[in-house]
């Protein structure tokens, strides 16, 4: 499709009216290695040499993070979490991207990358502590090489780019993976990050999970062109991948990270997927989207297709699938117990890490707070 015909096609004759809906299947440019029916297909540019054991590992990852997600949603409904941002439907995009990272690489998530957290070895309970309101972070971002969740939309793309500039200065063979959503592509800071990354040829890969909605607002309010095509305007490659195909996501992300490590600069990956659940537990998606859209995406489920392939190819048997289910239930039980029993932080903790070098003023305010609380002990509140 030429730029001219694209422009003509996308023109909106009614000011303010919605743009035409972009195709639901991602279109012919989408990289796919595993069809929704579970058939392996070849792609001229991307291939994946993967053992049966690795395939089983990916399946296990997908099931575990979905089970964790379901448990977290249940815990929120029972009042044990303040809020939960579900990854339901996006497991393959996150596990594929997370498993593409090499040990020395660094990841910069939004607030929904629980599947990447899992792949980086972050304890799910540390993630739960954020959503329970116990912590504003929760894990060690330096040790896990998985940055803390960034809630301001898109801000982390600049951090990832700056970090990648540091990698360049260190002469390290490492890459940086910046996560963002379709809504974030409208943020100025995200666009600045891409300008910076291109200008300095920084070893950063922008991994956009296009889950079709920014809370309630559909993709066509953010863009008139497929998102991956925007990369051309910044001067680096853009690739659209079937975000529900863990093999394609793994292959595409691995290739982009390797290119970055080799000094070829940034890549933009659009993982075309769908948010099967609500934006967060505070949201009601029935107000803004149709049930049949959801039904259509159910047919593209990331776990079902890998299970079909594993069964059909003989890479896994019923015993394996049963064992993964048992392990997932154990994980859910551990998450449930650990969350419910998670202690509240000590009240003075809010003062403790505001500065590396505490100020006399804040130290005094902390003392006043301690004295104030102590004044109630044994007395009436």
């Amino acid at each position: 499709m030429t730029a001219k015909s694209l422009t003509t096609e996308m023109v909106d004759p009614v000011p303010g009216a919605a743009a035409p809906h972009l195709p639901l299947d991602g279109g012919i440019d989408t990289v796919q290695l595993l069809t929704p029916e579970g058939d392996r297909v070849e792609h001229p540019l991307y291939s994946l040499d993967i053992s049966d054991e690795e395939l089983r590992g990916l399946y296990r990852d997908l099931v575990m993070v979905r089970r964790w997600d379901a448990e977290a949603t249940a815990l929120q409904r029972q009042g044990e979490l303040g809020i939960w941002a579900s990854l339901l439907g996006q497991e393959a995009a996150q596990v594929g991207a997370g498993r593409a990272l090499a040990e020395g690489d660094m990841a910069f998530p939004t607030y929904r990358e629980h599947g990447v957290a899992w792949a980086r070895g972050v304890d799910p309970l540390h993630v739960m502590s954020l959503f329970r309101g116990v912590d504003n972070g929760g894990w060690d971002p330096v040790a896990t090489r998985f940055n803390l969740y960034t809630i301001v939309i898109g801000a982390q793309c600049l951090h990832a780019t700056g970090y990648a500039m540091g990698v360049q200065r260190d002469g390290a063979e490492q890459a940086v993976l910046a996560f963002l959503g379709d809504g974030a592509t409208s943020q100025g800071e995200v666009n600045e990050a891409m300008i910076w990354a291109a200008s300095f040829s920084a070893p950063v890969v922008f991994f956009c999970q296009n889950n079709q909605y920014a809370i309630s607002v559909p993709l066509e309010r953010q863009t008139r062109v497929p998102l991956y095509q925007r990369a051309a305007g910044f001067g680096f490659p853009g690739v659209r991948v079937d975000g529900n195909d863990v093999l394609a996501v793994l292959a595409v992300t691995r290739a982009a990270l390797q290119a970055a490590r080799e000094g070829q600069g940034p890549t933009f990956i659009e993982a075309f997927t769908y948010r099967m659940g609500a934006h967060t537990t505070s949201d009601d998606p029935t107000r803004y989207r149709l049930a049949d859209e959801l039904e259509e995406w159910k047919l593209r489920d990331p776990i079902a297709r890998l299970k079909a392939y594993l069964s059909r190819s003989g890479a896994a048997d019923a015993q394996f699938f049963d064992a993964v289910e048992v392990e997932a239930d154990e994980l859910a039980a551990r998450i449930r117990q650990g969350t419910v029993e998670m202690p509240d932080p000590a009240p003075t903790e809010m003062f403790d890490h505001v500065y590396a070098e505490q100020t006399p003023h804040l130290a005094a305010q902390r003392e006043e707070f301690v004295a104030y609380r102590a004044s109630f002990e044994g007395g009436e509140h």
Partner: protein, 326 residues
């Protein structure tokens, strides 16, 4: 001991050079700071000597400067960001307030943010809109940031080095209309701490507080008041956050009168916080309410009106009259 007569601008330039020599992780970032040496020439010659990887001419986007500085800090670098003019810091405000200020707390100290944000601030140079503002209160209001405002070449030379070596993010305000003021700087002296106020002129009748460009104005007022037999004690606050009010409290308990002078709009400016704290700590010593002399609560006016807007010697003396009249 080597001593040089330096302008504030040259003192900053030498201080930056010394900080870059001391620590290879120091990286300067900003618009036009490389080949041009910055619009005020504060980084003059540094890119030539330290290279493009350490003195970075950035794309023209302030959020990008601060956001990438965060990433560099996470990687162990010490970015020093130049915001070309005070009024252009706001595109970066999101990064400064939601990220730079909060990442140390969010990460429980595992990710320090030793970032310096240099901002030429204040008016008096006859510029167009957005080139003469005093945004310090926005940053002083934000937990996690430290804010200093230098007034002289000695503090400029040492302060920039101390700010760069400091583990917390520092908003470093440079009094742009005083860039060309000169003083002798002992280059090997032991500097005063970065976060501390200083009595710069002793007096008995009224305590006058100022920082940045208004220190000179306060000293001029003290000179003029002395001719009328009034003795003003002038304190250079030097640090806006954290405030060091110990010398101020000591002074106000003696004088019983206090005036705070700044260019920033008066309402909810630093003077408001200082007045509250002085009232809390010196209530029984006060002979008059703490008075504020600041910019008016208007947008910074066109430059033909800035002399009316900015506090000057006469407005400080007028406040002295009002304070003494209580």
């Amino acid at each position: 001991m080597s001593t040089e007569t330096l302008t504030i601008g040259k003192a900053l330039n030498l201080g930056l050079r010394r900080a870059m020599e001391d620590d290879a992780k120091v990286v300067l970032m900003g618009e036009d700071i490389g080949k041009l040496g910055g619009v005020f020439r504060i980084t003059d010659g540094l890119q030539k000597d330290f290279g493009e990887a350490r003195v970075v001419d950035t794309p023209l986007a302030e959020a990008g400067i601060l956001g990438t500085a965060v990433g560099l800090a996470m990687r162990g670098y010490r970015p020093v960001c130049e915001i070309q003019f005070d009024g252009f810091v706001f595109p970066a405000y999101n990064q400064i307030v939601t990220q730079v200020a909060k990442i140390h707390a969010r990460s429980k100290g595992t990710m320090p943010m030793p970032i310096v944000i240099r901002i030429p601030f204040g008016g008096g140079i006859g510029a167009v809109e957005h080139h003469s503002e005093s945004p310090e209160a926005y940053f002083a209001h934000t937990a996690g940031l430290k804010v200093v405002a230098v007034s002289n070449p000695v503090d400029a030379y040492w302060g920039i080095q101390q700010a760069i070596a400091h583990p917390d993010p520092v908003v470093f305000l440079e009094p742009k209309r005083r860039y060309w003021e000169k003083a002798e700087v002992h280059l090997d002296a032991t500097p005063d701490p970065l976060f501390g106020s200083r009595v710069v002129r002793g007096g008995d009748d009224v305590t006058v507080l100022a920082y940045g460009p208004m220190v000179k104005t306060a000293l001029q007022a003290a000179e003029a008041a002395a001719e009328e037999g009034r003795s003003l004690e002038v304190i250079d606050l030097r640090t806006v956050s954290p405030l060091d009010l110990d010398p101020v409290v000591e002074s106000v308990r003696r004088t019983g009168r206090c005036i705070v002078v700044h260019e920033a709009p008066t309402t909810l400016g630093l003077g408001s916080e200082i007045a509250a704290r002085i009232t809390e700590t010196c209530f029984h010593s006060l002979e008059a309410p703490v008075l504020r002399v600041g910019g008016y609560d208007t947008p910074y006016p066109p430059s033909k009106l800035e002399e009316e807007y900015l506090p000057d010697l006469d407005r400080v003396l007028d406040a002295v009259d009002r304070s003494m009249g209580f």
